[in-house]
């Protein structure tokens, strides 16, 4: 069949990312942050939850490189543990969004007619609500917690995946190899899975990276607003929210969680750019997908 093997796509992507300096930078940072998050309990110098009031608001020092917070907790340890929430939100929310959005898009594009218009209207509706408001509304119904925040972020990310899957289905459903599969009696499910989906993976992988960056930012924003991870669990957004109330006493409190957050998001964005260059050669140099956020 005409579908390229997924292994060659993967090889292509890896080659293109290794070719660009920003690609190497972002993969290194992402691997480093993932390692820190996974190994947090063994790497972090202190327990992120243990309070010690005499050590309140200590400036950065050798004992506490990032300083301490209003309860005397070690901020370096809290930042390291905070990566767990950001990264797991990215992974869980993007997986949920792919699992929800891609089948929707495939069905809309492949079956057309009523299925298509119902699904497209539904996506229009999701897109009509600004991302953070949609997430806030979902959390308002479900209650504030990190699990509900992940779900809300996933819902926000669904339309982009569905639209991509739909567009690539529309582009392919009348190609000869799809017709051929239909002629020899393949089921719709088989055709979608074996002839249409493999060709859609390129743009979907780029979108997964873009959505991961969006998920990290959105989770941090929800936690910052008090609608995501609840204290005392360390999340970068929630730490910055407490840090904001103590800026006059502790500048470091408002600084380090933000650096971690920005580093993670910027690496995901750069990775998305180099992946985009890999699947679309016109897209070389410092260009980026316009309007891919919303």
């Amino acid at each position: 069949m005409g579908a390229p093997s997924s292994r060659s796509l993967l090889r292509n992507l890896v080659r293109e990312v290794r070719r660009s300096r920003l690609g190497i930078f972002s993969v290194t940072v992402l691997l480093g942050l993932t390692l820190l998050a996974v190994a947090a309990p063994w790497i972090a110098p202190h327990d992120p939850l243990v309070q010690s009031l005499p050590d309140q608001f200590m400036a950065p020092s050798i004992r506490h490189p990032f300083g301490t917070d209003e309860f005397g907790r070690d901020l370096l340890s809290r930042v390291i543990h905070g990566g767990r929430i950001s990264l797991s939100t990215a992974v869980v929310a993007v997986s949920l969004a792919v699992a929800g959005g891609v089948p929707l898009g495939l069905a809309a594009g492949y079956f057309g007619r009523l299925t298509d218009s119902v699904i497209v209207r539904f996506l229009d509706f999701l897109l009509a609500i600004p991302a953070i408001l949609l997430a806030m509304a979902i959390v308002a119904v479900l209650g504030a917690s990190s699990v509900n925040a992940m779900f809300a972020v996933a819902v926000v990310a669904v339309p982009a995946f569905a639209r991509l899957a739909r567009a690539s289905t529309l582009a392919q459903k009348n190609k000869e190899y799809v017709e051929a599969a239909r002629c020899i009696g393949c089921t719709d499910f088989y055709i979608l899975r074996r002839t249409i989906l493999p060709n859609a993976w390129g743009p979907l992988i780029v979108q997964m990276t873009v959505a991961a960056a969006m998920a990290v930012l959105l989770e941090a924003a929800l936690s910052f607003l008090g609608l995501g991870t609840r204290p005392p669990d360390p999340s970068w957004g929630q730490m910055l929210s407490s840090g904001r109330s103590h800026l006059a006493r502790a500048w470091w409190y408002g600084l380090f969680p933000g650096i971690a957050l920005t580093l993670l998001v910027i690496s995901l964005n750069f990775l998305a750019d180099s992946l985009q260059a890999a699947i679309d050669p016109r897209f070389r140099g410092h260009q980026s997908a316009e309007g891919r956020g919303r």
């Binding site: 209207r121 539904f122 229009d124 509706f125 009509a128 609500i129 600004p130 991302a131 953070i132 408001l133 806030m136 509304a137 959390v139 308002a140 119904v141 960056a213 930012l217 941090a220 924003a221 910052f224 607003l225 008090g226 609608l227 957004g237 910055l240 929210s241 840090g243 904001r244 800026l247 006059a248 500048w251 408002g254 600084l255 969680p257 933000g258 957050l261 920005t262 998001v265 910027i266 964005n269 750069f270 410092h286 260009q287 980026s288 316009e290 309007g291 956020g293 919303r294």
Partner: protein, 313 residues
């Protein structure tokens, strides 16, 4: 043209209907008795009974929806659970504050994005171009609330030149109001400035290679005249319409910026409504914001089709 506008308007109706159903279902999806939710936790039995009959809870769900939609269409969004003021009154109070902030942020992002976008397109490889590249990358990755915190640390606490929170209405004391407006506007505008600079740059790069630009150069125009007279004018069409699409980004950013700077606009009001479980206020605001967003997108699309006659969807 007329047919295009008509078909775009027709597309809006299902979106608005779906939004209204979702907003209507909001308080009915929350576990518990909707009357309790509407009347508040310490409601007397009489108040509960009043809330029940107002919601029409003894009727079947579709009937409740029609009653509710009828009220909304007549401009009655209900009363806030907390303050007991009509939701429309609250929105009318808070909207100008956010509009003020948004206009300031928009002006800032345009002032920054226009020169950056033009210079980085006209002089690829220059230090301006690479500076713009890094500004864009940073401004897109830095979370709004952290940028705001950094600005507070620097301008508010280190240099002590600007206030870090509060609000003064623009028309009561413009100078003082501007001082309170600067940091929130920078915070809110930074992300959009990066989106615009990127977009302007790629629009310019597209236009720079058009035939009529080569003609303009061939007839001996100075490069400045080519860029400002021929290229920019055409490149601005998609950029201007792009601005309309940034409304959602502004509205979302306003929630965070206003929470950060204690700015008494729509965004902070909505956050407080969610934190205090003021569900009628949440319903009304979401409905209002989505309708505004959808209308602005409609106007943007129509303006775009009007400016560029090749566009037909």
């Amino acid at each position: 043209m007329r047919r295009y506008i008509l078909s775009r308007v027709m597309q809006l109706i299902p979106v608005l209907l779906l939004t209204s159903v979702a907003v209507f279902m909001l308080i009915r999806l929350i576990p518990g008795d909707p009357a309790h939710i509407i009347a508040g936790a310490e409601a007397t039995p009489e108040q509960l009974e009043a809330a029940r009959s107002q919601l029409g809870l003894d009727q079947p769900l579709p009937v409740q929806y029609v009653i509710w939609l009828g009220r909304v269409l007549r401009g009655d969004l209900g009363k806030s659970v907390i303050s007991d003021l009509p939701v429309t009154t609250i929105i009318a109070q808070k909207l100008p504050v956010t509009v003020e902030l948004t206009i300031a942020a928009l002006l800032f992002s345009l002032m920054l994005a226009t020169p950056l976008g033009i210079l980085s397109a006209v002089r690829p490889g220059s230090w301006v171009a690479s500076g713009t590249f890094w500004w864009n990358a940073l401004a897109m990755a830095v979370p709004t609330f952290w940028l705001g915190i950094l600005l507070m640390l620097f301008f508010g606490l280190q240099l002590k030149v600007l206030p870090t929170s509060g609000y003064v209405p623009f028309f009561s004391d413009p100078l003082k109001a501007l001082r309170f407006l600067v940091l929130p506007a920078l915070t809110l505008g930074a992300h959009v400035s990066a989106v615009l600079a990127r977009f302007l740059r790629s629009a310019l790069l597209d236009t720079l290679h058009q035939d009529y630009v080569r003609t303009a150069r061939a007839k001996g125009l100075v490069e400045r005249q080519v860029v400002l007279g021929h290229v920019l004018k055409n490149a601005l069409i998609p950029v201007v319409t792009m601005l309309g699409l940034q409304f959602g980004a502004f509205m979302g950013g306003a929630v965070i910026t206003e929470a950060l700077f204690d700015y008494p606009g729509m965004g902070r009001m909505m956050l407080q409504a969610i934190l205090t479980r003021d569900y009628t206020l949440i319903q009304g605001t979401i409905l209002f914001v989505v309708s505004a967003f959808v209308l602005i997108n409609l106007v943007t699309d129509i303006v775009y089709a009007f400016l560029d006659p090749r566009i037909r969807y």
